[in-house]
Amino acid sequence: MIKYLSKKMKLAQLLKDDNKKDKTKVEEKSRPATLSTDLKTNLDLFSGIMGNSPDFIVRHFTFGKNRAVKAALLFMDGLADKKIINESIIKPLMYDIHLFDKNQLEMRTMEDIENILLSVGDVQHEAAVDTMISRLLYGDTIMLVDGYQEVLIIDTKGWQSRSIQEPPNERVVRGPREGFTETIRFNTAMLRRKINNPDLTVEQVIVGQKTHTYVALVYLKGIVNPKLVEEVKQRLKRIKTDAILESGYIEQFIEDSPLSLFTTVGNTEKPDVAAAKILEGRVAILIDGSPMVLTVPMLFVEGFQSAEDYYSRPYTASLLRMLRFASFFITLLSPALYVAMTTYHQEFIPTPLLITMKAASEGTPFPAVFEILLMGLVFEILREGGIRLPSPVGQALSIVGALIIGDAAVSAGLIGAPLVIVIALTAVSSFLVNPHQDALILLRFVFIILAGILGAVGIVIGLLFILVHLCSIRSFGTPYLSPLAPFTFQDMKDTFIRAPIWTMLTRPQLISKLNKKREVSGLEPGPEQNS
């Protein structure tokens, strides 16, 4: 055993050394850093780099006095907005230029073109070829003019994208309906609309050696702990991978406890939620191509909070919050408790219930542990099937699930009816604590097996292990179980209950260390006090 492990360790050491070598090898193709003054050479260079992709469009044209100036527009078909190119670039250059006085037709410099002719918002001069390429691939148009080393990069981004919709995973009855989309720029804009403040800082980095994905850090200067921003940047910089296709890639590269079942990086689809987290001193990580925005640090209790808690009045919100805590334990423990009670601790069960349960389990062929494992497995199959199946088939699936698996299994004498209730309860309550769903699914099975082996003692052992584990992990420097352990009294206003907004005077203590005060005290509405 130990020998095996030490062998593995040696192997690991080797892999580590390999990694070091990899890091020194920087993958870079040799290409000239700047352009020449000759248009033809430059165009050859570009078509050399781009190959002969059909979506790479080169538009040659001439303009100016006697049509003496040769120029070319480069853009990617589908990524660039053709309307802008036609109306605001080509038309002014080829047509509007002739409306000017003949004497003024001496426009030959780049500045003149930029200043007088182009009616596009964002135009930049650029000399570096790498930047040109990346801008070109991001939907911008490059304007080459014969005789110039510099080019104009004209913002013509305009690809087809999904419109802003209500996020399907985080629905609210009261509150904003908009959700993030796949385009990073829309997403940062949505955050800006929530937090109208120049301190809202967006820092962009490019991750992914092949995909060159834009990743943006968004935080509020003055509230965020600069060390946290530094740490996030450090961890993002570490990522040397070829592709970032979704926020999940980033999450797995930057999380604190990759071996833990519990997630230490939060995610949301709602701009209002992301804005709230930023306002509490967290850093949001936006990834181009993903509507899921990551927020760090993520605490255990965040899994029990919902945006609507803060929008509705505090009483029901507090009740629902506690309900979520309760359902965490229900979904985690109820199948295990069922097993423990029916196989070890029958004296726990009230006599009339015991008689009914016994009557139900009479003649069922399998032990309770096996029955519940089987039904748990069936439920997970149904759940996964329900997600993947096309929605018209989904209907059929729910009929199969509810009728055949639930009712028929009981009447066929395969399982007892109380067990179906337990499974149903487990299933429904698991949706109340969505962020911890992944951990719960696996832990539920672990607890069932523990309960099958040791009864209630097994459940207690399992709970202790989880507690110790949760106490030991951190998310970006913040203890995962805070504000419960270490205990922070101020934050109790937003843990098991959601206190009225006017009592929550401080931000989460351990996250926003530098600027804790959220609001002035004494905001409770009431008749005006005469002093």
Partner: protein
């Protein structure tokens, strides 16, 4: 990834050790629900050869469970009574287990019934196993049946169809009458352990309503210190005893004042008692103080309920009625020379020095013990009617 695993080497080996420790020990205590036979009642009868004759009532969950939902039950008897004989109680239980296809499960047992015949010959040996075993509960009711104990368990009562559970429900309802003591095995054994206090147990008998039979509770069986049953208290005497013990929760007192035409019923709301021994020289005296509060429950005599004197009269007669009940119980206990009230223990607590020389003579002292009864009676409210119906009509 692999070097990460290596980092957790210690943790991993610890986990493996725990996992092995957990799995290799096996599941000795494991028992599936459908492998159990839930015992709802035990009955002990006198065996001609002085062996232990045990009747075990096992719930038939198919019939019992379905009756809970559809009320019919298909006519199947919801229990199965298993008879077994052994040298001692545990032996008899194991013999019953031998005859049952499933393991007997005692945690949900509610009743232990012994026949009067057995009780009169002594039941000293019947409690050790039940108190010692881990699965049995000491909160089980102990009852003495006037006829054969097994017959009580073979009745087919309505509502709760299993006699063992039916008796348990009877006990939750005895408070309304307070004519039967609630004695579980723990209480019983506590009295056994006392030097002087006489153990008591409720009496159960089989009531007949035409064809149907069901268990019924009334009265008390009284034991001496050798755990032989020596006598019985009837319902009123039992309530007299319960007044002193402070265990009357509710009940109806019927009073008939001479100047009233009809009697009146008073509903007990609240009763408290205290027992105080008093030694003056050689004279031992017990002072029993009972405080009772009640409501007017029913009155048919044309009296004026607005007059305070009426209430005073009723209250005084209530006190007299309670005093009478206590005196009856006291008289019976003196006759039986059984200290059912625990006076001896009270004297021991207050006068431990005097008790030492008194202890051995207690049997001689008790029948002649002087007891003073003080009843403080209060009558509270007339209920929804402020007058009698006749009086209202006359107006």
């Amino acid at each position: 990834m692999l070097y990460k695993i290596a980092k957790y080497k210690k943790l991993l080996s610890l986990l493996i050790i725990i996992f092995l420790g957990v799995t290799l020990t096996g599941c000795w205590d494991h028992r599936e629900l459908d492998q159990l036979a839930i015992v709802a009642g035990l009955a002990f009868d006198k065996h001609p050869e002085n062996k232990v004759w045990l009747t075990t009532q096992i719930i038939n969950p198919g019939a019992a469970g379905s009756s809970a939902s559809d009320g019919g039950g298909g006519g199947e008897i919801p229990y199965w009574n298993l008879s077994s004989i052994g040298e001692n109680v545990f032996d008899a239980v194991r013999n019953a287990n031998h005859d049952s296809p499933r393991r007997l499960f005692f945690a949900h047992n509610y009743t232990v019934i012994m026949s009067e015949e057995l009780a009169r010959s002594g039941i000293q040996n019947y409690f050790d196993w039940y108190m010692r075993d881990a699965e049995t509960r000491s909160t089980v009711w102990v009852l003495i049946s006037e006829k054969n104990a097994r017959d009580v368990l073979s009745t087919q009562p309505k509502l709760a169809k299993i006699p063992g559970l039916y008796i348990n429900e009877l006990f939750t309802n005895t408070a309304a009458v307070s004519m039967s003591p609630k004695v579980n095995m723990k209480d019983f054994v506590q009295r056994v352990l006392s030097d002087t206090t006489a153990p008591i147990a409720p009496l159960v008998h089989v009531m007949k309503h035409g064809q149907e039979k069901s268990p019924g509770l009334i009265g008390t069986a009284v034991f001496n210190k050798e755990l032989k049953m020596v006598g019985k208290l009837n319902g009123i005497e039992t309530r007299g005893m319960l007044w002193v013990l402070g265990e009357v929760k509710s009940g109806i007192i019927t009073v008939k004042a001479p100047n009233f035409k009809e009697n009146a019923a008073l509903e007990i709301l609240n009763a408290k008692s205290s027992i105080k021994p008093l030694i003056e020289g050689n004279n031992i005296k017990i002072i029993i103080k009972v405080r009772v509060e009640s409501n007017l429950g029913e009155i048919n005599s044309p009296v004026d309920l607005m007059l305070p004197q009426t209430w005073d009269t009723l209250s005084n007669y209530q006190a007299a009625a309670i005093r009478k009940e206590i005196q009856l119980a006291l008289k019976k206990s003196h006759e039986l020379n059984a200290d059912i009230f625990g006076f001896g223990d009270m004297i021991y607590k207050k006068y431990p020095r005097e008790w030492k020389e008194m202890k051995d003579r207690w049997e001689d002292i008790y029948p002649g013990l002087e007891v003073e009864i003080i009843v403080e009676s209060k009558l509270r409210r007339p209920g929804l009617l402020q007058d009698t119906i006749k009086a209202i009509k006359a107006k």
